[in-house]
Amino acid sequence: MTHPNDISKIIVRIAEIMIDELKLEDVTPETFDPEIDLIDEVGIDSMDLATIALVLRDEYGIVIDEDDYPKLNNIRLIAEYIQKRVDEGKQG
């Protein structure tokens, strides 16, 4: 399991998962812009997000609520969401 103590590591890991799961071409985890709009630019839809959410659940032990998908429209926001949820889990 990745220890989500470094937001930049989470960002790269999410990019890696997206590239692998969605078969994205001409991009690497390092060159994937964490600010790029996943829906309006990358063309990801809610089914893609559900696929990614399943992998993130297994990796970080957190469930991303489907109602939160519209807010998570770039990789940085997803990474911050994961970090926050993991921190809440530790405190709880």
């Binding site: 969605l22 994205l24 071409e25 001409d26 991009v27 994937f32 790029i36 829906i39 309006d40 630019e41 990358v42 063309g43 990801i44 839809d45 809610s46 089914m47 893609d48 559900a50 696929t51 489907e66 519209p70």
Partner: protein
Amino acid sequence: MKTISSLLDAEWHERYQSISKLNIRSSIYDVTNRCNLRCKGCFFFSSGENNVVEEMDVGRWVRFVDNEKKRGVNLAILIGGEPTLCLDRVEAFYRRMPTFCATNGIIRVPRERFPHMMVGISVWGDEEDERLLRGKDTFSISRKNYEGDPHAYYLYTITPKQIGKSERIIRKIRDAGLKVHMQLLSNDEAVDGFSWKDAELKDIRSEMDDLLEQYPGTVISSKYYHEIITTGKMGDRRFGWEECPSVSEPMDHRDRPQRRLIGFIRWASDLKTIYRCCTSQTRDCSTCKDGAAHMSWVMVNKRAHMDSPEHLQGWIEVYEMFARLYQFIPW
């Protein structure tokens, strides 16, 4: 990495943005088992799907619709039987979520009760086909019932016998002040002369393209949709059971992960039975011509269309067409 803005100019990008976040979650509901017609080729009767025991308690329909909303459904597509025979059940949906009602148009939906409900009126071929397949010329009746209605359109099911003759039907629909969406007959009861041959599909594709150019204010369609529905092919993929996006989610046990409609279910009028897909469970998927299933097939495969500007524009046009037909964006 190819991005949306690298593929589209400003005008197309704006069109993309007007649909990209609609997040349409539809399900289909048989409102009743009864119909005021018995059409040859109607999958509902040929497959025996009319044999469940209808839920008669409107209160249970209301609670059912509330649960569907909680499940995330934001578009109810009402079919039947003939939904207008049970307007109290139709109202249970209409008061609670965006609702589309398919009808043969013999009974007019009362607009004082359903002012903005989108109504899709079926017409099969021309008057001669209608008499042969449906027992009467419903087109003449439905035109009078819905003339000038801004929330109604014709679902024109083209039969192989219509090749070279469809323009007259489109013109009559235009003259009645209505819109039309075209689809192809799936000959579920193998009526002689009504199954498509490859050459006929090629001819009707060309004819549909011409109709779209000739009647742009009347025909709600796209050339890419015509290609998909007549060839059954999207790139190197062929439509069929393995590809169909409109399989009821609880019954989707296909081996490999599918691009599919999230949460889609087709419910029977007992509100318990779930059917396999949006059409008949006895239909051969390899010859299915269901228009909505083919549109959805394109819609759930957006990234497969991000290989060229033309391909992505085709995807946008199909999505816009679906969104117009179900009132998510204006005509």
